[in-house]
């Protein structure tokens, strides 16, 4: 008889065949974090370029001071659910501030971004409903869909025509269909064709949910994300986002122009059956949200860095994701090549994320660089130089 653990053996074997020694690109141990962009890994000083810390706010003095105060005044944790003892004044204030930031009547805070998707999508759709999602959506969205019992239909990535075809096949069911896309996709850093998707929704009906996890604080004049940048916020029924990227902490949220959003609190198990975010986390996020709104210069710096890195790597001949952005993805060949390249970067003082199939589109290994407003020009140029030094590795082996 098989043991409970046997089913993991093939994953474990594949990992050990690929990686025999530390430091490992999978679950890398960061020994020391010195600033938003510097750390120590395996005894080396490295530029942190795989962090999702898009605005560099993890060490912002005002965020840290607010977190300190909350820690002193309210303690280390709420030790309870939002539905019981875990709703402090600060949690409700943050919800009001999120609603105001997005100019929508309702906002709900969750304990992580993953749980925001589970808690919203997993509760909104029921067994008789249908969810139509972009094929490259994040795992949290797929997992949320599985909770619903709804019919789950994928459409080809960023293909509004394909979405339309799939909605047409659904006939009358589109009226209640939940269409799910992301503002910026986490693997290749490409943006959704949101105006085209909105036009399809207008023709066929349904509800539109945009996960702005990677675009909050990054896109739009006020940092509200892709829907703001594309001028289609009125057509987006639900926005989901996270506190763990541009806001530099952990947690998640959903906002909507449907006031009924508040009702999901009574039914959403990922909202009810977990402890609420710690007071210190909420305090730093409130300050970070204010910084997103009040310091657009951070967004401009992030984009200047992203453009410099993207075009620098493009000039070197690297195969990149389709457009510059806070995520700059370099497509490589085999997983073995990816591991060797990752080690090469680390030896040159650069830490990025190695992502392997099936988490990557197209079955390729990729180096996922995340850019921060806190990177200076010299750091961006050092990242480019490290990639340049390793380029011959790809030229010799090609895409295996």
């Amino acid at each position: 008889m098989m043991s409970l653990f046997d089913k993991f053996q093939s994953l474990s074997d594949a990992r050990h065949a690929l990686i025999q020694a530390e430091p490992s690109p999978i679950g890398t141990r960061i020994d020391e974090v010195l600033s938003p962009t510097e750390g120590r890994v395996d005894g080396r000083s490295v530029i942190l370029a795989g962090t999702n810390n898009y605005l560099g706010l993890t060490f912002d003095p005002d965020c840290i001071a607010a977190a300190h105060d909350a820690l002193d005044q309210e303690g280390t944790g709420t030790t309870g659910s939002r539905m019981a003892n875990g709703s402090y004044v600060s949690h409700t204030r943050l919800e009001e501030e999120l609603a105001r930031f997005f100019a929508r009547p309702s906002a709900v805070v969750f304990s992580t971004g993953y749980m925001a998707n589970l808690g919203l999508i997993g509760t909104l759709a029921g067994a008789d409903d249908v969810i139509v999602l972009d094929a490259d959506c994040h795992a949290s969205i797929y997992d949320a869909c599985r909770l619903t019992g709804a019919d789950i239909i994928r459409f080809r990535h960023n293909d509004a025509g394909d979405l339309e075809k799939r909605l047409r096949r659904l006939g009358e069911r589109t009226a209640n269909a939940l269409i799910v896309v992301e503002g910026i996709y986490s693997m290749l850093g490409d943006q959704a064709p949101l105006r085209e998707i909105v036009a399809v929704k207008r023709r066929h009906g349904g509800y539109l949910l945009v996960d702005e996890a990677h675009s909050l604080g990054v896109l739009g004049a006020h940092g509200r994300g892709l829907a703001e940048a594309e001028g289609v916020e009125a057509d987006v029924d639900f926005v989901v986002g996270t506190f763990s990227k541009s806001l530099g902490a952990i947690g998640g949220f959903a906002v909507s122009h449907h006031p009924q959003l508040d009702m999901i609190r009574y039914a959403s198990r990922p909202y009810i059956f977990t402890a609420s975010p710690s007071p210190a986390t909420i305090a730093s996020v409130r300050v970070a949200l204010d910084i997103v709104a009040s310091r657009p210069a951070l967004r401009r710096q992030l984009w200047a860095n992203a453009e410099r890195l993207y075009h620098g790597l493009a000039r070197l001949g690297f195969e990149l994701g389709p457009e510059p952005g806070p995520v700059v993805a370099t497509l490589l060949g085999s997983p073995q090549q990816g591991v060797a390249f990752w080690h090469g970067l680390l030896e040159r003082g650069v830490y990025v994320n190695l992502v392997l199939p099936p988490a990557t589109p197209g079955g390729r290994a990729l180096m996922r660089i995340s850019v921060s407003a806190a990177h200076d020009t010299a750091q961006i140029d050092r990242i480019i130089a490290a990639f340049a030094a390793l380029k011959p590795m790809l030229d010799h082996h090609g895409h295996e």
Partner: protein, 82 residues
Amino acid sequence: MPQHEQILERLMAHLERLAPPDSNLHPDIDLVSELGLDSVKVMDLMLDAEDEFDISVPLNILADIRTPNQLAQAINKLLESQ
């Protein structure tokens, strides 16, 4: 309306594009454990099947499907229910 055999034949043609080269494809091959397709490739096969037969094949039926034969049966059932 295409019959089971015709559906299966078209599915096998799509599968040939997704399967590793020199795979020993047959209608009862287990798509994951024998053919080695990852979850994303199996979902991509569903996208192809949807376009081929102009139907919606919800991902939720995937849990019960291991082989091309079973997928063809599921598609046949969906077509008949239309």
